[in-house]
């Protein structure tokens, strides 16, 4: 067996958080090496280290047995390591050809960009990818799947020995995935080493030679693909006994608080939310599982009035809501804790107190002026109730840890006295202890009579916490399970399913 890339005892810490713990990973020449693991398991961190955009805190990288230092992405490129990131890094305002050669344009007379050569080589690469595309098309005009292929083409232009792909298929159609896998097969035949990160078990089983499982920053298993099965992989990914970490909701359910019928949000190529119907009862915790881009965030954003619905009906507490503004939905009794707290949740320039009170500040006045005492006591009460750890109410919200920031956003949502809480990935990016606390809070809120609808990408979490699990794929609900009959494998297969739940 031929080891091309090796990471030896690599650790990486961000501040106090250890993202990678003493990982020793090997990728083999001419093989497709698959990496799996839940969000935050450390796969992407390791790939960033191997591609030179992050430095390990300790440990070393061996390339063909030689220790190397990859201090910049350029270093890695020059040694033949290419990476295709999960997030596209293209210039939408430039053409396909210009994107392919950005930063390394072919020159004529050593000075001017050789457009003709650029177009010719672009066409070559596009052909290899099975795309009949005009190299002069603006990348911004392409559907997201083709943009992804442009990104892949950009890496193929160079002579790569090691190609890292971080979830490249999340935006691709089935046909495009086939093309990509064919290209990967070709690369394998050319002795290129492919490191392939994916969540889609059925997909990577088709192409992978080896599978490596990450969990909580550590490498937990490494086997030839042929010696594994789906159930084994899922078990390795989830690892711990989920029920020890999460608190299950045990409260009795009451009236239907949220009822959604045929909700549809159109997108540029296909509906982002496609004819979704669901309901949430008082005291019920409903989980929505799905892969990235399945339309889950769009669903809750539409419920919250942040995106207009193109069809469908939303009722809260038995009343049909016609006005689709955040204000109206908030008054109706919905509150959303967004997926990306930095982008959508927190005002970084404001204090903890002001962030907590932001949505309800209008209620804390006398004669039009804010009542400082009431502000302080209202915020302090919520801080105590949710056990938010803060240095002080007047401190900037950005000085808190991720879990406590999440609680600040939750406190703000609770102050609006909602009937149904919509939580979009409430435990993303927070540590295990904080996750358990958020889970406990959700169960407590359900016991107090709230309806809770939460989105999660983590199998263990959604299985351990939800009374009912809905699965979304390509904008549609593809399956529904009760806590009694849900399994990891069923969720995984439903999340990649084309079938629609009737």
């Amino acid at each position: 067996m031929n080891e091309v890339v090796q990471a030896k005892n690599v650790s990486k810490s961000y501040g106090g958080v250890r993202a990678l713990k003493d990982v020793t990973f090997t990728a083999y020449r001419g093989k497709v090496n698959v990496l799996v693991g839940e969000n935050g398991a450390g796969k992407s961190t390791l790939m960033k280290i191997l591609s030179g955009s992050e430095q390990p805190t300790s440990g070393e990288i061996l390339l063909e047995g030689e220790p190397v230092t990859l201090s910049t992405p350029r270093d890695a490129q020059q040694r033949g390591i290419g990476i295709i990131h999960q997030e596209l890094s293209l210039f939408p305002n430039m053409t396909v050809a210009q994107n392919m050669f950005a930063g390394r344009e072919p020159r004529r007379k050593g000075r001017f960009v050789d457009d003709r050569e650029q177009r010719r080589r672009t066409r070559e690469v596009l052909n290899r990818l099975g795309q009949d595309l005009d190299p002069d098309t603006l990348v911004g005009d392409l559907p997201i799947g083709q943009q992804q292929l442009v990104e892949i083409g950009r890496v193929l232009l160079e002579h790569v020995r090691v190609l890292i792909m971080d979830e490249p298929t999340s935006a691709l159609s089935n046909h495009e995935v086939d093309v990509l896998f064919r290209v990967m097969g070709d690369l394998r035949a050319e002795d290129v080493t492919v490191i392939y990160i994916s969540h889609k078990l059925d997909e990577f089983r088709r192409i992978g030679d080896f599978v490596t499982v990450f969990r909580d920053g550590g490498l937990v298993a490494h086997e030839p693909m042929s010696e594994t099965d789906t159930a084994w992989i899922v078990r390795q990914m989830v690892g711990r006994d989920p029920d020890s970490l999460y608190v299950r909701n045990t409260s009795a359910t009451g009236d239907v608080l949220l009822d959604v019928r045929g909700l549809t949000v159109l997108g540029p190529t296909r509906p982002l939310v496609d004819d979704v119907s669901l309901s949430v009862r008082a005291g019920e915790v409903v989980g929505v599982y799905g892969l990235m881009g399945a339309g889950r965030t769009e669903l809750v954003e539409c419920l919250m009035g942040m995106r207009p619905a193109d069809a469908g009906q939303v009722s809260v507490r038995g009343r049909v809501e016609t006005r689709a503004t955040v204000q109206a939905r908030m008054d109706a009794g919905l509150a959303l804790v967004p997926e990306d707290r930095q982008r959508d949740g927190l005002v970084p320039t404001m204090s903890v107190r002001d962030n907590i009170l932001l949505a309800t500040i209008g209620d804390l006045t006398r004669g039009g002026l804010l009542r400082g005492g009431r502000e302080q006591s209202t915020a302090a009460a919520k801080v105590a109730e949710l056990a938010i750890k803060i240095p002080g109410l007047a401190g900037l919200v950005t000085s808190l840890s991720g879990g406590n920031q999440q609680k600040v956003v939750l406190a703000r949502a609770l102050l609006t006295e909602p009937a149904v809480l919509l939580l979009d990935e409430p435990t993303r990016g927070i540590d295990v202890g904080a996750k358990a606390q958020i889970a406990k809070l959700m169960a407590e809120l359900a016991a107090q009579g709230y309806g809770v609808l939460f989105i999660s990408s983590e199998l263990a979490e959604v299985i351990a916490m939800a009374d009912r699990v809905l699965v979304m794929a390509r904008g549609r609900l593809t399956a529904e399970f009760t806590a009694a009959d849900v399994t990891e494998e069923a969720l995984v297969s439903a999340s990649a399913s084309e079938k629609v739940l009737e």
Binding site: M306, D344, T349, L358, A359
Partner: protein, 357 residues
């Protein structure tokens, strides 16, 4: 038991020594108070050079000059706090100046003759016009999604042009009014004094006080900061972001009109080029006072102090006989210095946060 045993050893990953943090905190205090420090330094330098600088009459005169820019800058601060910018305030001041001048000098033409209004009514009309033009800025920014820089740049030209059209480019030379017309007394706001202090300065104090209350003690004020700090979070908190934005442009327009009236009253005549390029001084005052152009951070009191620094600097340079060319150079350097120190403050603040977190 010795006292060394009682001490808990510092963990390996502990932040740098305590003295370092104390030093950083002290530096942060200095940086926060930099506008005031600069103001004090200016006064000390100029009074050392010229004995006339720190006299009562000169201080009152300089403060009166400050008043107009301060009122403009307070309005602009509201807009900047939301993350916008208002380039049109100078032109709005000019437009309201011409409208008020026209109403006082030749009255309102109703076909059969000319109607004259009392000074109070004229002033209210002038301010309403400013507020409406501000509202137009707000509509362009919200409804039509024009970038604030472009929208207010456009209005800068439109309002200035409108001011010139009102008189075909001419001046309304006499605004003192007559008893028959019942429109005497416009000089009160820009020329007269109350209790030995110019009325214009009193007005600045009132505007500043009102602005401080609005920004720090009302839900609306809180929402302004939220919109500037993170618009998406503001939306998700149910804040009607567009209303907040329109409101700040209306406030800015009204403040600009008021400043235009004070200037017109002081000059005793209305001409279309009134307050040309004053928007730059106003923005400079806000920035000097620590208002972040990205929005979400700043104070009214800082802006007022920024206006004092600019005013006291300009008048001081004139007093000690520095050429107007050098005045510009110095003013520009001071503004850049302010922004550089602002960034130093932010860096220090965030590193302190990390260390104490």
């Amino acid at each position: 038991m010795t006292d060394t045993e009682v001490r808990t050893p510092a963990p390996a990953s502990a932040p740098p020594a305590k003295g370092n943090v104390a030093l950083a905190k002290a530096a942060l205090w200095l940086l926060r108070g930099r506008t005031l420090i600069v103001l004090v330094v200016l006064v000390v330098i100029f009074s050392a050079i010229s004995s006339e600088y720190l006299t009562q009459s000169n201080l009152i005169l300089m403060t009166k000059h400050v008043a107009i820019n301060a009122i403009l800058a307070i309005g602009v601060t509201f807009v900047i706090l939301t993350g916008g910018i208002d380039l049109s305030v100078g032109s709005i001041a000019g437009l309201s100046s011409m409208i008020v001048g026209g109403l006082l000098f030749s009255g309102l033409d109703v076909g059969t003759g000319h109607i004259f209004f009392s000074v109070a009514v004229v002033i209210v009309i002038g301010i309403i016009v400013g507020a409406l033009v501000g509202g137009l800025n707000g509509l362009l920014v919200t409804r039509f999604k024009v970038a604030p820089f472009i929208a207010t740049l456009g209005i800068l030209y439109v309002a200035r042009g409108a001011a010139q059209l009102l008189s075909d480019g001419g001046t309304f030379p006499d605004l003192s009014g007559t008893p028959e017309r019942g429109n005497e007394g416009f000089r009160f706001i820009g020329v007269d004094s109350l209790l030995g202090i110019p009325v214009a300065v009193w007005i600045m104090v009132l505007v500043a006080a009102a602005a401080i209350v609005v920004t720090t003690r009302t839900p609306f004020g809180r929402r302004i900061f939220a919109v500037g700090g993170n618009e998406r979070a503001a939306v998700l908190s149910g804040i009607r972001v567009n209303r907040v934005k329109i409101a700040v442009y209306v406030i800015s327009g009204a403040c600009a009109a008021l400043a235009g009236l004070l200037l017109t009253s002081e000059l005793g005549a209305a001409y279309p080029d009134t307050a040309t390029t004053y928007e730059l001084n106003a923005i400079a005052a806000a920035v000097l006072g620590g208002t972040a152009l990205a929005g979400g951070r700043g104070t009214i009191i800082g802006t007022v102090m920024g206006a004092f620094v600019i005013g006291f600097l300009s008048d001081g340079l004139v007093l000690v006989g520095v050429s107007t060319f050098w005045q510009s150079v110095v003013k520009g350097a001071v503004i850049i210095f302010a922004v550089v120190t602002e960034q130093a403050q932010q860096r220090l603040q965030s590193s302190l946060n990390k260390r104490t977190a």
